[in-house]
Symmetry: C2
Subunit: 491 residues, 2 copies
């Protein structure tokens, strides 16, 4: 009875979140500029309502009564996930929530002009305020959860993950990645890569994108593709809204972006319908979500066997040119080049950008480092991992990301966890189904079936560690990722 | 203080309605089919929340306290409109609301297949249930408002309007309209009208539509144009979403549809920003809304001076053809032909369709007629007003409209009130600014300025009667409408 009341209550929350997801998508894709202020206000009211739904006074009683009653094992997990959502929404005092939100908006807003101006001095006091309040939030969460401060933030994005594991993981990566990057660079130094020559009209890029989405099993009865300044995968499981951004001079980026978002989308579309409206039916974590987009983009789409399928599609839409030859596409899509900017990084150097951020954000939150020391530490780690200096170049250094401006500390590791989970999944899949090149060439549905069976259908019904080891036979392990990089880039 | 609390409360309601308007628009324009069930549920939850917002227990106390406090005259009106919204949401017992909504959904759903099957016998029991519950609702509303049963329903769409006035109005129209229709038909009998010859590709129709919207002053920073099966003007004042439907064989319909919706849109865009989030800042009534769309479509766009401006635009988009000559466009867009279907009716015969429905729905609600007698009465009135029989032809007769299937009795008069208000406005405008053909040819902004000053900026701050007589110097009066028809169709 109490469990039923909880289901109804959380379904209501889900419906509100649905409206927010669609209106958020509209804001990024369809809304004319003059609609923004009213939209922001409407979404603000909705956020308050959603939060209030999780602060309903009867919830603790319902939780207690439901726990005492008979529950199926899945209902017990569902209850646990409801509690997690409730706990996250009620852990911080209301005035700290408000202060963080305010300081975050202020810092993020200023950052949009301070970054292009390379203005670290202007950014610092705003950032110090955000950091200060994030530390307070981390302390409150840490106390409630019995975790370290940084781990209590990590828990928001990657439940169950601890910095102890991340230390090991990044320690391991740090031991071989810088050297691997150098080897790959050495090897690619004399490689000849042709860039496709445009223009590539937007309408044709979109037609190609839709065709590739169909090939990747995207369900167009439950989703669509549009354009936004910052590509994302939004909407709801029943109606997934992907976006991309087209550059008429370059077809390669939007195409790979669409494939990346299609990975996110298929996870959402593949979540179990029976649990869709409850916390237990949502995607497991940011890392698992990223593992699906990176599986699609890195394991699948940059694989030579997939590029061999892409080549004739590119030719069909844009006419033949030497750059579309499969071998050239493979070289193009596996080019490694250390650079300043994380979001432009290739598969091999990307983890270095994340390691650097993890070390810094952990030390900032744990109080082992101060905001004012950020540029120097950034420069030092960039030199260590990628051989590049950002001294004085804040806009391409510590000012490049939006995450910290609003206090989203603890998010960055998800990117690399995703890459590693994806490599583990690819390795296990190949052990069970045979080599990827055959699957990609002849049996893509088998790949999607494997992901459906081992990842998508479990939603949040399994903890990440259990999900991963049942799917791959291993706990978190960077070895398959390393092997993947060595085979693709050094073999 | 209480007034401030009320403002905040009603602003919150406005924000929720904003989310509903955008998600409703998305449902009709963008949503893939598989998203419908989840969307319907989410919007259902939102409707409950909006209703609950108007049932907040503190509202009566706040109203009383606010009335006692010092208020500006505009705040007093604003308070009155808040009360009206509150009153409408609280007048019916909850189980009657639920029963009506259920019976309405059932009847409307069945109607979608019963109408094409011409199945009156299948429709009747469902309709009887809807009518029965609508009569109960009308009785409850009538008692609370001190109005007749039908007037209490009318009050929902056209506050202040009474059936006594409508009797007079339609009595007047009934006295001359059938004869005028016959005269126009006689006169047009030998007129030669060329239909434009297609195809007219959708992309070009859209480009033309956008150009015409711009000419009509639509603000694209606060709105957009899309496609839906049933054209509408939705969204919110800050972000108005128009839709149309294109037929590649016919450019005339979508174009005039866009112009009609642009009239609705400019009213919404022209509502006063300071009152936008409160009931007093909304459009005055359905009739006034329709007066703006019909001003744009009938008074303005079908005027020979406007068609003379449209002709070169049509030529520019589709190449010259004899049908695009202004004189032919004028004949095409003023063709009068009695027909069965209201939504396809021309400006002259349209009021006959409304008169018929008004008489029937008033008698149904007042208990002077039963549901089973509908087909016979329909046929008799169609013969009387338009000389057409619908005997046995239910799908083109009493089954053609959606309105009654869900119990929206009292809505139909708005269409003809709109046409009459529009004619009054056009007459007054010409008295003040000079003849329409000069204004249309040389000074469209003066027309829009007049509407802004006399209609749009007043939102719901004036009652309809006051709004109308301040703008036109007259109370509701069919004479300018009659004169308009005589001048356009018989002169």
């Amino acid at each position: 009875m109490s469990y039923t009341a909880l289901v109804e209550h959380f379904e209501q929350l889900h419906h509100l979140q649905h409206l927010g997801a669609i209106c958020g998508w509209d804001q990024a894709t369809m809304m004319p500029p003059g609609g923004n202020e009213a939209r922001a206000e409407a979404l603000g009211t909705l956020a308050v309502l959603c939060h209030r739904q999780l602060q309903e006074a009867q919830l603790p009683d319902w939780f207690a009564a439901a726990e005492a009653g008979p529950l199926t094992p899945e209902q017990a997990v569902s209850l646990h996930e409801m509690r997690r959502a409730w706990r996250d929404a009620n852990m911080l005092p209301a005035d700290l929530v408000r202060a963080r939100s305010l300081a975050g908006s202020r810092c993020e807003h200023a950052w949009r002009s301070l970054r292009p101006a390379n203005d670290w001095a202007g950014f610092l006091p705003l950032f110090e305020e955000v950091l200060n309040l994030s530390r307070q939030a981390a302390s409150a969460r840490a106390e409630a959860l019995g975790l370290s401060r940084y781990d209590s933030l990590l828990e928001q994005y990657e439940p169950g993950m601890r910095s102890r594991q991340l230390d090991q993981l990044f320690g391991n990566l740090g031991g071989w990645l810088p050297d691997l990057i150098r080897q790959v660079q050495e090897r690619q130094r004399h490689e000849r890569v042709l860039a496709p020559s445009g223009p590539f009209p937007t309408t044709q890029q979109k037609a190609l994108g839709l065709e590739v989405m169909a090939l990747l099993g995207f369900d167009f009865a439950h989703g669509r593709l549009d354009v936004s300044a910052h590509p994302f995968c939004g909407g709801v499981g029943e109606d997934v809204r992907l976006t991309t951004r087209y550059d008429e001079q370059d077809v390669t980026q939007a195409l790979m972006g669409i494939i990346h978002e299609t990975g996110h989308a298929r996870y959402e579309q593949g979540l179990p319908a029976a649990w869709r409206k409850l916390p237990a039916g949502q995607a497991r974590s940011m890392g698992v979500h990223e593992s699906q987009s990176l599986f699609f983009e890195m394991q699948l789409a940059r694989h030579p066997a997939f590029l061999a399928r892409l080549a004739p599609m590119l030719e069909r839409h844009f006419g033949p040119q030497p750059a579309f030859v499969p071998d050239n596409l493979a070289r193009l899509y596996t080019r490694v080049e250390p650079g300043f900017i994380r979001v432009d990084a290739d598969e091999v150097t990307y983890p270095a950008h994340v390691m650097l951020r993890f070390e810094i954000e952990r030390d900032l939150i744990e109080g082992r480092m101060e905001a004012r020391d950020l540029p120097e530490r950034w420069d030092q780690l960039m030199q260590q991992y990628l051989g590049l200096s950002t001294k004085g170049n804040h806009k391409d250094g510590c000012l490049q990301d939006i995450h910290w401006t609003d206090g989203s500390f603890g998010y960055f590791p998800s990117y690399t966890l995703g890459a590693i989970y994806a490599a583990q999944q690819a390795a296990a899949m190949q052990q069970q189904l045979g080599p990827l090149d055959r699957l990609i060439g002849e049996d893509l549905p088998a790949i999607f079936g494997w992901l459906q069976q081992h990842i998508w259908q479990h939603a949040s019904l399994l903890e990440t560690g259990v999900l991963l080891s049942r799917a791959t036979g291993q706990a978190l392990d960077p070895a398959p990722f390393r092997l993947h990089l060595e085979q693709r880039y050094l073999a």
